[in-house]
């Protein structure tokens, strides 16, 4: 069953035009000139109940704007949005009761008091009976392993700890559908891992549908059933992660530091850049050579001192998507 249908969504912003120089600065006081910024252009997609859908795209692609339109914060310039039978912007007050939302860079918690106190606001906003509220809170808090953390003032928490508390805040009213805008931004690997596990758990246990934005390929790989790639306000891809991999390739960026002179295998390695005789940077094609085999091949010749493997940036993937289309 589709719970979200977006048809031809566009959103434009009027932004004041700024030119340099004193003269135009003075002019702009009297007659401001505006230009139109197309943040989202004719985006269409559907989401079924129980899905985890990832919106992937570089900074400024239009992901947050789509989330804001979906959560009823922004009105669409044109196009139609239906979520859970509501039109989010015009029916905001009734609609938002059924959804949860979390913005990685904006906090719902009260800064100077413990999150446990902040949670009581949700209890009353959503009119959750006291016992039920305690039950849900304990369940979420336990699952995230933050029993002690919720009693410290929010301002003393690490970003990862705080983000876990934000999740509790966003889920206390048991929304069927949850929007996450960059939920893993700035987190260390452990916190990321914990949050991914939590999302998967609530998705399985309660059938919670998730729409999340990210520019982290790992999030998509580990979480999303489906990935929608957004670039320049447009939808450029909408399919499974496996399908994305097929088109965009299965590459990793590798940097290796060795004891003696580094010797790289010929197959599966390209774009090699020797920073020094003992340090190299290159792109690994995992379809040809696995990470295990790569490490083995290098370690046969010399000892590995340091090794970093990262995903290619989203921009690279998008470039490959455009290439594949052409």
């Amino acid at each position: 069953m589709d719970i979200i249908t977006i048809t031809d969504l566009s959103k434009t912003f009027k932004v004041p035009k700024r030119k340099e120089g004193l003269k135009s600065a003075i002019q702009s006081v009297f007659r401001r000139q505006y230009e139109t910024k197309h943040a989202v252009k004719n985006v269409t997609f559907r989401v079924r109940s129980g899905e985890i859908v990832g919106l992937l795209g570089p900074n400024g692609a239009g992901k947050s704007t789509i989330i804001k339109a979906l959560t009823g914060i922004l009105s669409p310039t044109s196009g139609e949005i239906r979520v859970l039978g509501f039109e989010p912007f015009s029916q905001r007050k009734d609609y938002v009761r059924h959804i949860g939302a979390l913005f990685g860079q904006k906090s719902q918690l009260w800064w100077d008091i413990p999150p446990a106190d902040s949670f009581t606001l949700s209890q009353h906003l959503y009119e959750i009976p006291k016992q039920e509220f305690e039950r849900r809170k304990n369940d979420l808090v336990e699952k995230l392993g933050i029993q002690d953390i919720i009693h410290k003032p929010a301002r003393n928490l690490s970003l990862g700890e705080r983000m876990k508390c934000e999740f509790v805040m966003a889920l206390l009213h048991r929304p069927k559908l949850v929007f996450l805008d960059e939920p893993t931004i700035g987190l260390d690997v452990f916190a990321k891992q914990a949050i991914r596990e939590f999302i998967t758990y609530t998705n399985k246990e309660y059938g919670t549908t998730y729409i999340l934005t990210t520019h982290d390929m790992d999030d998509i790989e580990h979480l999303a059933h489906r990935v929608i790639v957004i670039s320049g306000g447009e939808k450029v891809f909408d399919d499974s992660f496996a399908a994305l991999r097929k088109i965009a390739g299965v590459t990793k960026h590798v940097r290796v530091v060795t004891q003696k002179k580094v010797v790289l295998p010929k197959k599966g390695v390209r774009g090699v850049m020797h920073i020094s005789p003992y340090e190299a940077q290159f792109v690994l094609d995992r379809e040809i050579l696995g990470i295990r085999d790569l490490v083995k091949a290098i370690a046969q010749k010399t000892e590995i001192i340091d090794l970093t493997i990262t995903d290619p940036p989203v921009e690279t993937i998008i470039a490959q998507l455009y290439q594949a289309k052409a």
């Binding site: 959560t71 914060i73 922004l74 938002v96 009260w110 100077d112 902040s118 606001l121």
Partner: protein
């Protein structure tokens, strides 16, 4: 309304707990506010004692005028004074969006979230100034009660200003300077209307209904003005209607911030 009051109570308790994190700051600003406003009637007695009042208006009447204004301002501040700086902060940090995720009226919730107890000092001193004025002016307690009831129109006027300025803040990502207009308005309202040129006086009854804040209620209760002047109390009601409309209009044009 019941739901709103419950949330207001929860937010009040959370706000107090937040404030308690900075206990000293809290009590100092409370006392400071209280003393500053208590000084007003003393100022008036000194000033008008020397200048012999304003025509028919005696020092007692002038004190009533100040008392009514302070009472109304204090009452309005109790729930609204945090509105502008809170809105300003949210707009600047981009967290105004989050407010719209609450399944309640946005303005109502903004009021919930901006509650700030510093101004209970203003309310207490407002009450005190009012009582002092009633005693000195020698009006009956019935007249005083009527005056307090009429002060609700003044509350409407001040509330409208807060709402209007909060909306302007959201629309134009503006400055906290707007807040000062409220003080300026109260200062202009502190004088009997007949000292202003007639054009300004008309303006202060209609478009910017400053006169209803003190001059008209006090004038009618003390017999300086005819009862019919109470008809002008329609203007603060209209003014409130306009501010609320402007607020809603602002939300329909809300663009959030980039990022």
């Amino acid at each position: 309304m019941k739901h709103w009051l419950r949330i207001e109570a929860v937010c009040a308790s959370l706000a107090i707990r937040s404030r308690m994190a900075y206990r000293l700051d809290f009590s100092l600003s409370f006392i400071g506010m209280f003393l500053a406003h208590l000084a007003l009637p003393i100022y008036i007695v000194l000033l008008y004692g020397v200048s012999a009042g304003f025509g028919e208006w005696s020092i007692g009447d002038m004190l009533l005028l100040t008392g009514t204004i302070q009472l109304a301002r204090g009452a309005t501040s109790m729930i609204m004074s945090g509105l502008i700086w809170h809105t300003n902060e949210r707009v600047q940090q981009g967290t105004f969006d989050l407010l719209l995720l609450a399944p309640v009226n946005a303005l109502g919730h903004l009021l919930n979230r901006s509650i700030d107890f510093e101004d209970s000092g203003l309310f207490l001193s407002g009450m005190l100034v009012f009582i002092i004025a009633v005693v000195i002016s020698g009006i009956t307690w019935w007249q005083a009660l009527l005056l307090a009831l009429l002060a609700s129109f003044a509350i409407m006027f001040f509330a409208s200003l807060y709402i209007l300025f909060a909306a302007i803040t959201v629309r134009y990502i503006s400055t906290l300077r707007l807040f000062e207009f409220q003080d300026i308005a109260a200062q202009y309202a502190q004088f009997p209307l007949h000292i202003y040129p007639s054009l300004l006086a008309t303006l202060f009854i209609t478009l910017i209904p400053l006169a209803v804040v003190g001059y008209i209620p006090v004038g009618v209760v003390t017999g300086h003005l005819p009862m019919i002047m109470l008809g002008s109390l329609i203007f603060p009601v209209l003014f409130l209607g306009f501010s609320v409309w402007y607020w809603h209009n602002t939300l329909t044009h809300y663009t959030s911030a980039g990022g």
